[in-house]
Symmetry: C2
Subunit: 191 residues, 2 copies
């Protein structure tokens, strides 16, 4: 029996864990939130969180409604040549922001981040811990972290102008046209 006195089925438990996670990430930040804390809040064994979500990042991605696991996707990129990796990175990102569900999740996150210091912290910690560290492995430069941040900034800027501000030429462009112009630029940052 859960804290709330309900006797939830499997899907109720999974939903309750996600609810608790969303609240914990929002109030404690990404770094300070552990699976143990979320499990305690949801009144379940921590092993159940590993069973459902594999990792803290997996649970965060689920809580945010993202359609992909960034670190799994990005790890694949390290295995192919840089030109191809750059193309694949923009292709995946544009497909993600162009799908309605993930666009809404992403816009909600950006909206919170610009109006709320705590949400900005969550987004910062997640981007730093899970995205930048992996993009940075694609480049051998001393300033790999800065170069990876600039790649991330180009992608975030595209999301802003394509879907938030909706500036005509970028909002209307076919995904392929965006990929063709942006891939060489990411390659320029990383090579």
């Amino acid at each position: 029996v859960s804290r709330s006195g309900r006797r939830p089925g499997v899907s109720g438990t999974r939903e309750r864990i996600i609810d608790c996670a969303r609240r914990a990430f929002a109030t404690r930040g990404y770094d300070a939130t552990t699976l143990r804390v979320i499990a305690a809040d949801a009144a379940v064994d921590p092993s159940l969180l590993i069973h459902y979500f594999k990792s803290k990042q997996g649970l965060f991605v689920e809580a945010m409604g993202f359609p992909i696991r960034p670190s799994e996707t990005l790890s694949e990129l390290a295995a192919v040549p840089l030109r191809q990796a750059s193309e694949r990175l923009v292709t995946i990102f544009v497909a993600m922001i162009d799908s309605e569900q993930s666009r809404n999740a992403m816009l909600a996150l950006v909206r919170s981040a610009v109006s709320n210091e705590q949400a900005a912290t969550v987004l910062r910690e997640f981007v730093t811990a899970e995205l930048l560290s992996i993009i940075a492995t694609l480049t051998p430069h001393d300033d790999a972290a800065l170069r990876a941040s600039l790649v991330a900034s180009q992608l975030v800027g595209i999301a802003m102008l394509r879907h938030v501000v909706r500036v005509g030429p970028l909002a209307r462009a076919a995904p392929e046209a965006v990929v063709a112009l942006v891939a060489p630029v990411l390659e320029e940052y990383l090579r």
Copy 2:
């Protein structure tokens, strides 16, 4: 005597015009707001707006608290080689977002744009009418408008990661380090 019954001095009139402009841009959008409309709201002769602000764009920039007139600055760029123009564009932009006053103005605009459809429209119309058309003149390509939007998206993304989300490597980087990496990328988009 103004509508409010005060008999304002010169600086009171100027402030009142800016107030009326801010309200008009927010409620009607950038395109539909004319100097004539603002002059009527402020109960002054339209020629006084030209005297103080030169143009609708000048008044918008003033109302938004921007420290520069984008179109004047951008016109200068067309006169120098593309590499130099790209460097100058990033340098000016980073200096602008790094100054506290203009950062606050810009963040207020982005904050409004992500939460409010009307504010997003104002920002879109301004970017399209006053920035993209000029950046687009720097490149001879058929898809100049898309390339100009991507330049704008890279700059907006830098503002987001450096000052809103504050991702470490980009938030802490010296302006010169950012310029050195970003200028070749803008050149890649425009050449």
